[in-house]
């Protein structure tokens, strides 16, 4: 049963992602991507990571994608004036498809050659308690570092925005 669910979810994720990648309208792309993320979250759950699955939905689908949407709307990137109106021509697609295809082929070949290949994924469940315990014991330092990272990101984002304002002010002044 879980196997079937996995394949279905996998198909949904790939198709949704493919749709997202090929949309001209970024809003559409984001919506497709949210779909894909939901599918992924379910796969996570299936693989015994409920907490990660929850965060996938909350952070990715909920926060990051919404941020994208905000930005798209703020910059008024409606399809009418999308830079990709004509869409990439075959000249752009061709080498990329070539790379993609080759990479895929290489990966598949390598998987084929993997001696321990075909190991089945067991049913397994990592409770949020275990998770929290690992996170705040073994990875306490990393958590601190990452939190600093987030702080710096916030400061950085603020700075980029602020520097911009100052420049505009200067522009107004002159």
């Amino acid at each position: 049963m879980a196997t079937w669910i996995f394949y279905i979810l996998g198909a949904v994720a790939v198709i949704a992602t493919a749709m997202a990648v090929t949309r001209r309208n970024p809003v559409h792309a984001v919506i497709y991507l949210v779909n894909s993320f939901f599918a992924l979250a379910l796969i996570f759950y299936l693989l015994g990571a409920p907490l990660v699955a929850a965060w996938e939905v909350i952070i990715y689908a909920g926060a990051i994608m919404v941020l994208f949407l905000f930005i798209i709307m703020m910059l008024e990137l409606s399809p009418g004036e999308d830079a990709d109106r004509k869409g990439p021509g075959p000249l752009q697609w061709l080498p990329v498809l070539l790379i993609g295809g080759s990479l895929l082929a290489c990966t598949l070949l390598m998987l084929q050659l993997d001696p321990g290949g075909g190991q089945e994924l067991p049913h397994w469940y990592a409770s949020p308690r275990d998770f929290g315990y690992a996170l705040f014991h073994e990875y306490a330092l990393a958590v601190e570092v990452v939190s600093f990272q987030l702080l710096f990101a916030a400061v950085g984002a603020f700075y980029v925005g602020r520097a911009d304002e100052r420049k505009e002010k200067m522009g107004d002044a002159t």
């Binding site: 790379i99 990479l103 990966t107 390598m110």
Partner: protein, 619 residues
């Protein structure tokens, strides 16, 4: 007597020169001249005091070691022997007189300090040449006089020609110095020493085949300094300097340094018969060449310059035929009367209001009869009037040449006698044009300082009686100079031959005087003919050198710069740069600035890595 006194001989003029150079502008005017005169005069007195030191093979004294390296030892060391002593006495003596004269001549000059500093330094350098006990110190003096001469010829530097004349003198003499340098290097390589006495002593050790080139190189050096063919073009131009300078440097002292060098190294030089013959031939050729040029010169100092060149030719001839005594005798006497003539000429130029051209002078006998008589003595000496100093010394040279008896000597003798006739002619031409007739110039006389006249009589006396120094036995003399220098006395000729030669010399003197008397006693303007211009311009040697040496030199220089440095070397290097830049242009296009293009590169790289891993896994 303390031999270290000798060191003072060179130190005194040096001190005078340095003091004048460094502090001259702060000293009161009279002090500058006084300082210069007293230092040279003190040197002269010192030479007299030290005279006994020269006897018995001379005295050697060292101040300190100048250059010392493996095998090389060059001291600031002096060697005072009869030859050096006689020259030193003459140089300090004449220099003292000329310094005094210069104090009068340069009375109103602004830049007196520079003048006297250079003059003193010149005396120092000249004394270095004379007294040096090694070739390097001699070379120091040799170049030193060259520099002082450069500075003094171009003393009035604001006229471009003067400075150019100085430069020409320096560079032309330096071409001669090149040969001297090579000779020095070679001697050191062969003998391992630069000490003159040792070189003379060990000259016989040398391979006879090598001596001739060595002598010719030394001759080249001597030719440069003494303005002999073919390095003579600088001397006439050097007359651009102040007259005392011409008198001191370009008549009495520096130009005779070449003769002195050959005499100094005579034991070496005399070993090569080819070399000696070449010396004699160069001397004779120059004597004739210069005399012919002097025939048509218009400037008083240029006449004298060519005559100097001619007389030094005689001295070379004397060395070449093997008579050091005759050469030195003529050198000394010539120094006296030529200094007299130049200083007289300086006074005459003042008298003619700064006019140089003898065709614009005339009638100066009335203006200053005393000067006329003094000048006459000089002219008589120069022309070789019988019984004057110049007659005896020149006669001795020709006699030696004659007595050698081989074909070459006979030709040399013939040239010498003929040149004597020419000398007589141009000397009297000068005399008549300057002193007789009416004054033809348009300038008024300058004030004549008494110093300009009263230094001359002494020189006149010395010139007139200079023959007594080395009077041959034939005239009842005792050949003092020959004995003093310790060289073989002149050969005795049979009495009729002697008398015949004497008569011939007198004849040629008269043969030179008579035409001059006829043509120039009354002044007539001369038409300019190509022949005259040819002689006036010194056989156009300047133009020849310009075309043969200077123009190619400039051409090569320009070629090296524009063709070599700019085009070839820089061209190659900048070419490499440009090629790189060109190819860089292609690579530059890879940097499109497009993010996706770069990322695509990443992806290809990823593919490569994966493929490689795969390949490794497969095999």
């Amino acid at each position: 007597m303390d031999s270290r006194l000798l060191l003072l001989l060179i130190i005194l003029p040096l001190t005078g020169g340095v003091l004048n150079a460094c502090f001259g502008c702060r000293l009161p005017r009279q002090m500058r001249a006084l300082l210069a005169i007293s230092s040279v005069l003190a040197s002269f007195v010192l030479t007299l005091i030290c005279w006994p030191l020269a006897a018995d093979g001379g005295t050697q004294v060292t101040l300190f070691t100048w250059l010392k390296s493996s095998g090389l030892q060059a001291d600031i060391g002096l060697f005072f022997d009869p030859l050096a002593a006689s020259m030193t006495l003459m140089v300090t003596g004449v220099a003292s007189l000329i310094h005094i004269y210069a104090a009068g001549y340069m009375e109103y000059e602004e830049d007196q300090a520079r003048f006297f500093a250079l003059l003193n330094l010149f005396v120092f350098a000249m004394l270095c040449i004379l007294l040096a006990d090694n070739l390097l110190l001699l070379f120091l003096g040799w170049e030193g006089v060259g520099f002082c001469s450069y500075g003094l010829i171009g003393f009035w530097y604001q006229k471009k020609e003067n400075a150019l004349a100085g430069r020409k003198a320096f560079i032309v003499t330096r071409i001669g110095d090149l040969f001297f340098t090579i000779a020095l290097l070679w001697l050191f390589a062969l003998l391992g020493t630069v000490n003159i006495a040792e070189i003379n002593l060990r000259a016989t050790e040398l391979d006879p085949l090598l001596i001739t080139p060595l002598v010719l190189l030394l001759l080249g050096g001597a030719c440069g300094k003494s303005a002999q063919l073919p390095l003579m073009t600088w001397l006439p131009d050097a007359m651009a300097g102040p007259t005392p300078v011409s008198a001191l440097i370009h008549a009495a002292t520096m130009v005779t340094a070449g003769v002195y060098l050959l005499c100094r190294l005579f034991p070496l030089v005399s070993l090569s018969s080819v070399g000696m013959a070449t010396i004699a031939c160069i001397g004779a050729a120059t004597a004739l060449y210069a005399a012919s040029c002097a025939l048509e010169q218009r400037e008083i100092k240029r006449v004298l310059a060519y005559s100097t060149m001619s007389q030094i030719g005689y001295m070379f001839m004397a060395v070449g035929v093997g008579s050091v005594a005759a050469a030195i005798n003529h050198l000394l006497v010539h120094a006296f009367f030529k200094a007299l003539l130049f200083m007289g000429a300086g006074a005459l130029i003042h008298l003619a209001g700064g006019e140089n051209d003898i065709f614009k002078m005339g009638g100066l006998k009335q203006k200053n009869p005393f000067l006329f008589w003094l000048f006459l003595i000089g002219i008589l000496c120069l022309a070789g009037a019988p019984l004057t100093g110049g007659f005896f010394s020149k006669d001795a040279i020709l006699l030696t040449a004659f007595s050698r008896g081989d074909g070459l000597s006979a030709i040399l003798w013939g040239v010498g006698v003929f040149t004597a006739g020419l000398t007589s002619f141009y000397s009297f031409r000068l005399l008549y044009l300057v002193f007789f007739g009416d004054y033809r110039g348009d300038k008024s006389a300058h004030h004549l300082s008494p110093l300009l006249i009263w230094t001359l009589p002494l020189l006149a006396l010395l010139g007139l009686f200079g023959g007594l120094i080395n009077l041959p036995h034939f005239y009842g003399g005792s050949e003092m100079l020959s004995h003093w220098l310790g060289v073989a006395p002149a050969l005795e000729l049979p009495l009729p031959t002697e008398i015949g030669l004497l008569a011939l010399m007198t004849l040629f003197f008269v043969a030179g005087w008579l035409p001059a008397h006829l043509f120039y006693r009354k002044y007539q303007p001369e038409a300019e003919t190509p022949w005259r211009r040819f002689l006036l311009q010194g056989w156009r040697f300047d133009a020849l050198y310009e075309r043969v040496i200077l123009q190619p030199y400039r051409f090569v220089a320009n070629f090296c710069w524009i063709g070599g440095d700019k085009a070839l070397i820089d061209g190659v290097i900048e070419g490499i740069g440009r090629t790189l830049l060109h190819w860089g242009g292609y690579f530059r296009q890879l940097a499109t600035g497009q993010v996706s293009f770069y990322l695509q590169g990443f992806a290809w790289g990823l593919l490569l890595m994966l493929g490689w891993l795969l390949l490794k896994a497969v095999t």
